[in-house]
Structures are given as structure tokens and as C-alpha cells.
Subunit: 391 residues, 2 copies
């Protein structure tokens, strides 16, 4: 996988005419640049420069004690060790390659491309001072967006496998959810299933799964509480697993009937169906070449046109090795998102679609599906939820 990705990186560098991509890290297990997983595959302790060029060079400059390990992995053809300072071997390599552009991992907008710490940036600039190379520095965000976004066949297969596992767990959970159980009990039940199947959760276990029951719950990004599930609650779960290093991220919504209640209340029914329709409309329009904000607006405008408040987040993010992957986002033109709403959707990207709305007095209806962008449109990788699941 790392070999595949390094090869793909060389192609992307050629395509964008960028001579050199430099991933510059230290103590990477403590402060991990997200690129480590994709193009390096192991950690190092001292300042380490991983260099990939458009000519196909792969060079690592590392503290002497890290050299054997990087060599053992074999992804970098040239591994150069140093004891006192990385400066001299780094400048020697730069003088050999004479790059016109040096891409490094910082980005105000793309989290996944922002692995370089500010202290490391300052060190790098100090090494380059007066060499002329300090003026060649650019952000690697477009390289990383392309590299993480365009999924290979193997990557898509892995994501599908993670989705299948997640849906299987959701099926079991449907039988477990009952009035009187707490959000935490539901979460622990899911975590036990994850452990039994030797999977990992797709993000921090404390919030994966996230379980929200009823009108008083936080609704998102919070840990399960001791709140009890009751009749009249909408319950939703946000959950994903990591399998073979690739993630799923899905949400499903249940309704808990009150004693004697035969059907789902009209308001709940309507809210849920508006979510399903918003996802269908967004998916219908999603294809290579459109800008992220256009797709977000379709779902957002439909939801507000039905009398609900707009959701306070993006419609969808990319998914891959991490649950929030890649650059381009299906999001509104909010300051917070920088240039991401304007990025063009590309074939091979995998997005979530996850609008939400509040049904007053009941809870939050939210469904999250996963789709793959193709040349002509998009394809659901998850079997979509079409009906609210009733307990």
C-alpha cells in the first residue's frame, strides 16, 4: 500500500510539476504527521526528512539510530544518517536535486495536510536561511488532497469491508436497544462487538460509537451519557470501524415507541424522510467536476425549505485511512472551511453524506451514507437506510 502510494505521489508531483515533497517530522509517534501512515509506515525519533521527487527519488535523512529501521521497511531507496544535525545532509541533497518548488505539509484549510508543527517549520527555515531554497517552499495540500482523495481499487475494497462490518453491528444493535437502557450501555454493547471481531473503532473510542437518545441529548460530537432511552425518543448512533487500516463512518436513526403507540408520530416520520430525500438529491447531483459547496447547498436548501433549521456542519467529508480524510469537503462557504467549499470533486473520491435536523420534542434525525464518485455520478458503497428503524 505504501509503495503504491509513493508511486502515486511521484505521478501527482509530475502532474502538478512540483519537484520535491518534503515530509519533515520528529518523535512522530508523539506528534504524528498524518502522512506517516500513507508514505512512511514507521516512526522516527529525531528530525527526519522524507523526500519524494517528481523524478522518482525516495530519500530519507534520519538520526543515526533510526536508520536501520527505515532501511528495514525499504520504502526509501536512499537512507542517510546523521548524528549532530540534519542541516548538512539536507542541504547536500537539496543542492543535488536543485528543486524549484519544495512542498511541505502545512495548510490552513486541509487538516490532513497540516502535519508540520510550527516549531519544525521554524527549524527548517533556519536550516534553509540564505540558501535560496527558503523561497521555494509551497504547501503540499494539493498533493495530499489528490493522494488521499483518489482511492485505488484496493482502498475501495477495504472501505467496503469496513462498511459491511459496521452495518452488521448496526443490525445487532437494533435488537439490543430498549427503553430503560442508557446511551452508555448501548455504546458498551457496540464496543464489545468491535473487540470480539478484533476490529478497531474508526475514531476515538470515547466518542465512537456516539449514541444520542431523545430531545435533550447533545446530538453530535459528545460521549454517551447515563441518559436512559425512553418511549418517544429519536435515537441516533454515529459509528465506524477501521479494518485493514481503512475506515467506515455511518449514522443510523431509530424511533422508540411509547407504550401502546402503534405508528411513528407524523413529525418524526416527516423529519426522517426529509433527511432521506436530502441525501438522495445530493447524491443525484454529485459527480466529478462540481464544487463541494454546490452539493452541500442542495441538501441544506431542501431541509430549510421544509421548515427545519440548517445543520451546523458540512454535508459530507472524505473517508479513507482516517474517518476525516482528503481535502475537498461538501460544505458551505463558511470562513471556517477556508478554500475547501471551492475544491472540485474528483473521480475516485469517497464521501460521506450526513445531513441532520432536529424534530422538536423527539430528538435528532440523522443518517450518514458513504458514496464513491465516478466519472458520471456517484455510487452508494453503503446500503442506504430508507425507513426509520422502530423499536
Amino acid at each position: 500500500m505504501i509503495k503504491e502510494k509513493i508511486k502515486q505521489a511521484v505521478e501527482i508531483l509530475k502532474g502538478k510539476d512540483i519537484d520535491m515533497w518534503l515530509t519533515f517530522v520528529r518523535e512522530s509517534s508523539l506528534i504524528p504527521d498524518p502522512m506517516i501512515d500513507i508514505t512512511v509506515g514507521t516512526h522516527s525519533t529525531w528530525q527526519t526528512a522524507y523526500i519524494i521527487t517528481k523524478y522518482g527519488d525516495t530519500i530519507a535523512i534520519a538520526g543515526s539510530l533510526d536508520v536501520a529501521n527505515i532501511k528495514a521497511y525499504g520504502y526509501y531507496k536512499d537512507v542517510i544518517g546523521y548524528v549532530e544535525s540534519i542541516k548538512e545532509p539536507l542541504l547536500r541533497i537539496l543542492d543535488k536535486i536543485k528543486p524549484n518548488k519544495i512542498a511541505i505539509n502545512f495548510s490552513t484549510d486541509t487538516v490532513i495536510a497540516d502535519g508540520l508543527t510550527h516549531g519544525m517549520y521554524l527549524s527548517l527555515m533556519r536550516y534553509l536561511e540564505g540558501t535560496g531554497y527558503e523561497d521555494k517552499i509551497i504547501s503540499s495540500e494539493r498533493i495530499i488532497s489528490a493522494l488521499r482523495g483518489r482511492k485505488s481499487k484496493t482502498e475501495i475494497k477495504y472501505i467496503k469491508e469496513a462498511i459491511v462490518e459496521t452495518l452488521r453491528i448496526f443490525d445487532k444493535v437494533s435488537k439490543f436497544i430498549k427503553p430503560g437502557k442508557t446511551e452508555q450501555e448501548v455504546a458498551n454493547y457496540i464496543l464489545n462487538l468491535v473487540r470480539k471481531t478484533k476490529l478497531e473503532t474508526a475514531w476515538d473510542e470515547k466518542q465512537c460509537p456516539a449514541v444520542f437518545s431523545g430531545p435533550e441529548s447533545a446530538g453530535a460530537h459528545a460521549e454517551p451519557t447515563k441518559r436512559k432511552i425512553q418511549g418517544g425518543h429519536i435515537l441516533n448512533i454515529d459509528f465506524g470501524v477501521r479494518k485493514n487500516g481503512y475506515c467506515s463512518d455511518l449514522q443510523r436513526t431509530w424511533y422508540i415507541r411509547r407504550k401502546g403507540e402503534k405508528t411513528v408520530p407524523k413529525e418524526v416520520h416527516k423529519g426522517f424522510n426529509v433527511i432521506i430525500e436530502a441525501i438522495a438529491r445530493a447524491a443525484e447531483a454529485l459527480k466529478a467536476g462540481v464544487q463541494g459547496y454546490e452539493i452541500d447547498a442542495i441538501a441544506r436548501d431542501y431541509i430549510t425549505s421544509q421548515g427545519y433549521k440548517e445543520y451546523p456542519h458540512a454535508l459530507g467529508h472524505q473517508i479513507g485511512r482516517s474517518a476525516h480524510d482528503g481535502g475537498g469537503l461538501l460544505c458551505p462557504k463558511w470562513d471556517r472551511y477556508g478554500n475547501l467549499p471551492y475544491e472540485k470533486v474528483e473521480t475516485g473520491q469517497v464521501y460521506t453524506l450526513e445531513p441532520r435536523l432536529t424534530v422538536e420534542g423527539y430528538g435528532i434525525a440523522t443518517v450518514e451514507e458513504i458514496v464513491l464518485v465516478t466519472d458520471s455520478g456517484c455510487k452508494f458503497l453503503s446500503k442506504p437506510q430508507k425507513q426509520i428503524w422502530v423499536i
Copy 2:
């Protein structure tokens, strides 16, 4: 623990007369600022500002979906949510506090204080542009060094517990090591013991434990290989566990006798004893107020005076929530270490002592102990290895 540490942070801010300490993160589970574990305790998705002031204020400004979770943790008295951009609420808080100094987490020298990414630094500077606050920015490295370095009683108790577990595992390993077994088999045996006791390894499992057998091994910072243990090998293991969130980091050395060999070869005996003596001399001199390089030099000079090459790393690092913790280091004045060799040792800091040397033809002798700095000297927290362990 986090409450204790926030309280300690306020005292440190008062002591150093720094008005405000700002930890500025986003997607902190993907790119974790090491301070998250110490002063926050949970993750957030959008840009989040965690502010602690010398007046005792604790303020979090977070994306609206992260607010409920941060409130649930209860460490920050004021939790302010935003939807479109953090800029406005952040500037409002700054105008209220009017700080003269704003410490943020970047450092060229102290890894643990370098959690702010360069992209996030640029965003922050963009928000502050023209407000005057951009000139108040300083590095938080001295706050963080003090906060992580000065261990509380509870912290020392936790580190001791992690040490006890590690030494117990080393005892078991001594019975498992045999000629013909591979480094990987020894490592897997240890990992199984870690899992059985529901502990975690102190750093990345791939290199924890690190097992090195014989003269051809990498000797440090590498993963265990399929190399077979043989008579005539020196074998060393670098290993630690995390218990209650606190780490140990210890090394032990064994000698594998050849068939019929009754005693340890003279060269091996001498090499091992030089290491033990180097540790003893360094510990003898270690006390509050000395500079890190002075202690490193004692061990380093002793080893070279005995005819060995100097070790290509520091004599010791601090230990705590992570295996490499705190600021000050017992290290030589090499460019790579920036200002760390000159930092003064403080009471309450916990250091490793880990010199190494190569015994030609046999392997690498290295022992790592853990000591606590007291007002008058230092105290071993680990029961020191005094004899090479013979198989």
C-alpha cells in the same frame, strides 16, 4: 489529574508572569497536541481555543457541536460555541482579558511543547492581524517544561507502578530467552504478557519492546527481526508500559552463553560494567540546579576514557505521560538538541539514564534506569541492574 494540572498551570503562569496560555487545535484526535492529555482530556473537531490565564480563568471556544462534550468534562468554566468562525469570539475574549503575553504551543527544541501545526499558526495570525495581539505571542515551552517536568506525588506513584510491571515482565522474559528463538518471538512473548495484564506499551507496539540480539543487530530504534538468538550474543531489550496513563522506559542486557561456556567473556563483562559505572557516576552528580549537558558529559567521558566510542544520543530524557516527556534533557551540546543541554534540572523531574556501548563481535550493552530528582540529589525509582543476566 487534569484539574490538578490546570491548577498547577495557573501557578506556573503567575510565577512566570505570563497572562494567558492558549492551546489552539482542530481534529485533535488526528493531529494531537500533546497538551490535550494534560490540560484538556478530550478531543474536538473544529478549531478550538483552550485558554488558561494567570488569573485562574479557564475558557474554551469551540465549534457548536463540540460544546456539549467539553462542558460534560467540566474542566473549563466558560465554554463558548461558534458556528461560522472562531475569530469573533476569540477576539472578544482577548479584548476582555487584554493579555500582555499569549503563550502558544510551538518550540524548535522541546517536542512536547510543539503541538501547534504551522497551518494553525497561520490561521491564528490571520485572526490576530491588526489587533496588536499578534505581537504578544510567545512560546509556551517554559510553561510546558515546568508543567510536565514537575511531577506530583500521584504522578510519581503512577510511574513507579509502571516500572514495577515492567521489571516483572523482564523477570519472566529471562526464562523465555533461549538460543534459536528469534527477536520477534521474544517481542511477541512480551506483547502477550502486556495484553494479558491489560496494560498498554509505552510507545508504538512495533518498537516496544525493541529486542536486539548479537553484533549485527540495529541496536536501537528498530523493530524486532527474524534474527535468531545465538550463543555469544549480547541481547538487549528496550521496553516500557503505560499504566494509569503514565509510562516506564527501561533497558536490560543479557548474555547468551555459547555451548560449554562457563563464564561471561572478559570483553562482555568489561563493557557491561562500564555501563553500570557510567550510570552510577551520572546519578551521583544529578541534582536540582545542574545543567543537563554536565550530567551527560560525566557518563560520556567515562565511556570514552575506557576505550569505547561515545553513544550517539542523549544520556537521558524525562518520562511521564509519554515515554519522552518534559523539556530538559541530559544531552550533549549538539545542534540537534538546541537549548535543551543548557536547561537546569529541577526537583520533581523524572529522568532515564541510558548510556550504551558496543562490545565488538558480541552486541550492544545498554542499561536504562529511571531516577527522580530531589533537592539534594536523585533517587532510583527502578531497581538497578547490577549484573549482566546470563542465559
